[in-house]
Amino acid sequence: MSNSGDQANAAAAERLFVDIFKEYDYIIGPAGSCVKQVRCHFDTMDQTDDVKHVREHTYELVEFLHDVLEIESFPWAEFPHPVVIHNSCSSVRGLGLAKPSEIMGTPFNKTEALLSKVKGLVLVPLDRPDECCGFGGTFCVTDEAVSARMGFDKIQDQLRHGAEYVVSPDMSCLMHQQGVARRAEIGLKYVHVAQVLNGGPY
C-alpha cells in the first residue's frame, strides 16, 4: 500500500509495527524490501523516539549477520551447488547490501561474503547482477507483461551461466522468478539465503 503511495491505509499497520517492536534492541527481517520500507519510508506518523528507534534498529538478516554479529563461519552448512545471488533492488540500492553497479568505487557484496563461507557452494556471476527482476510490488500485476518479461530475462541470465540455485535475501523476488521459471518449465531452484546459511530445510 505504502509502495503504491496509499499513506492513509498504510498508517495503521505502521503504527502497529512500531507498537509491537519498540521494546526490542534489534528487529530483524528476512526480506530486504520490507526492511527498506521500515527504515526509509516509515513516515506516515509523527517521528517520535519510538518510531525513530524502530526505524534505526530494523535490520535485514544478511546485514545483521554481516555487520552486527560479524559471523565468520557456518560450520553446519553445506551447499555443493552452482549458485547465483539475487540481491533485491531494495537490498542493494536501499540498504547497501552490495555496491550498486551504477556507483563507482570498491565493490562489496555482503550476501556474497556470507555465502562464500558455506562449504561446497560455488558462486556463479551474472551479466546484469543487479538488474531488477520485475517484481516491484503491485507492479507485477498492473504491468504484468513488462514484469514477466523482466523475470524471464533474469532467468535467461541465470541459466546462461549454469546456475542450479538462485539464492536471495528477498522472498518476493524469489516468488516472482520462481513463478516465471515454473511456467516456462525451467528447472532452476529458488531458495532464501537463510535456508542456505542454516543448512536447510529446503
Binding site: 500500500m1 531488477c132 516491484g136 510490488g137 498492473t142 523482466m150 516465471v180
Partner: protein, 442 residues
Amino acid sequence: MHDRFLWASRQRRDLQAKAIPEWEELREIASKIKEHTLTHLDRYLEEFECNATKRGAHVHWARDAAEHNEIVLSILQAHGVEELIESKSMLQEECGMTHYLESRGISVVESDLGERIQQLDGQPPSHIIAPAIHKTRQDVARLFARTIGTDPNNDDPHFLTEAMRNNARPRFLAAGAGMTGGNFAIAETGTFMVCTNEGNADIGAAVPRLHIASIGIEKTIPRVQDMGVFLRLLTRSALGEPATQYSSHFTGPRKGGELHIVLVDNGRSRRLGMADFWHSLKCIRCSACMNTCPVYRRSGGLAYGATYSGPIGVILDPTIDEYKYSELPFHSTLCGSCSDVCPVKIDISDQILKWRRVMAEKSYLRLAKRLSFAVAGHIFAHPEEFHAVEKTSGPALDYTPHFFLYNRSLNPWGRDRELPEMAKQTFREWYVANRGKEDVEQ
C-alpha cells in the same frame, strides 16, 4: 533489441565512468552547482540576459508554451520566413512548436536524423537523445521508401543516411531561419551551449541569417568553468562516449546575423516551488536514467504517452499535468537504478514514490487498488483478523478452480507465472508449535 541497444549504452557509460577516478565527486559537484543555481535562479537569469544582450542577442521571456510559440512565430513573420530548420529540442517538443508553426504556414524540417525519421512518421521522439531508437533499420527503409522514395529493400544505414542527407540539404540551404535548443546557458558570459553528434545545430545556426534558440530557464549555470564539470558528465552518462562530436558555444549573433534567445518557464518556476520535486530541475537531459531503466528498455518511450518518457519523464510529466499523467508513477518497480546513475544526483526513484503518494491522496488510484488497499489497511491493523485470513486463504487456494487462478483478466499474475505453492503451516502456527505458546501471547 531495444533492451540490448540501450543496455549497451549503459555498459559503455559504466566503462567511461570507471575510467574517471573522481566520477562520484564530479556527480556531487554537478549536483551542488545545479542546486546553487536553482536557489538563486532569478539572479543568474538576469545576469544571463544582461550579458547576452550586451553581446548583441535579443532575449525574450516566455511564461508558457503558448507565449513561446507566439514569440517564435512573430520573429519568423517579421523576417518573412517560410521555411525553418529545427535542431532537435525537447523544449520545442514540450511546447508543441512544430505543429503550431506548420498550421500557420511555416514549414519545419528537422535536422537531427532520428528526429527527422520521427517527423516523417508522424510520431513524437521515443527517447530524448535517440528519438528513433525503437525503430529497426528495416523500419527506416520502409519509412523512407514511403516518404522520400528510396528502395524499400535497401536498409543499409550508410545508404539511408546519404539518401536523407541529399533530401534535406537543399531545404537546409533554402531555409530562412534556424532554431536550436540549448544544453547550458552560462550567466557570466551570456553564452549558450548546444551539444550534438551530427553538427545539425550548427547548420541551423550557421546557414540562415536568423538563429532562434529556445532555452528552459533551468538550463542556467553560473560560470564558464562549470562547463568543465558538466561536459565531462553529460556524454559519458548519455552514450558512454567521452564527448559529443560537436559542443558549440554561441555568444551573440555571428557577423551579419541575428540571434534571438527565448527563455521559457512553462511550469518550471511552479516546479521550483514544490518541496519534494524541485530537484528534477537539475536534469541535464542526458538520458542515462532511460538507458538504465529496466521498464523503459522493455516498453519503449512511446508507451509513456508524454513528451518526456522513462524515469525522468515519470517525475516531470505530472508537474505539467497531474491528472493526465497520474498513472505514470506506477509504471516503475522503484528499483532505484535511475537515481544511482543520474550524473546530477536527482533522487528520481524517491520522487516516483512521492508522486504515488500525491496521486493516492488525490484519489487518482485505480478503483480496484483503492478498494483492496482499504481492506488490506484494515486487516493489517487488526492482528486477529489477519490471523483469520492467513489461516483460511492458504487452504482456500486449494479449492479455487483453476479458471479463477489463471484467468487472464481475473488474475494477471497467472498469465505468465505459476502461483507459489502454499506452505502447509503458517509461520505463526509453526512458531506456536515449536517455540511455545506463552512467548506468542505476551
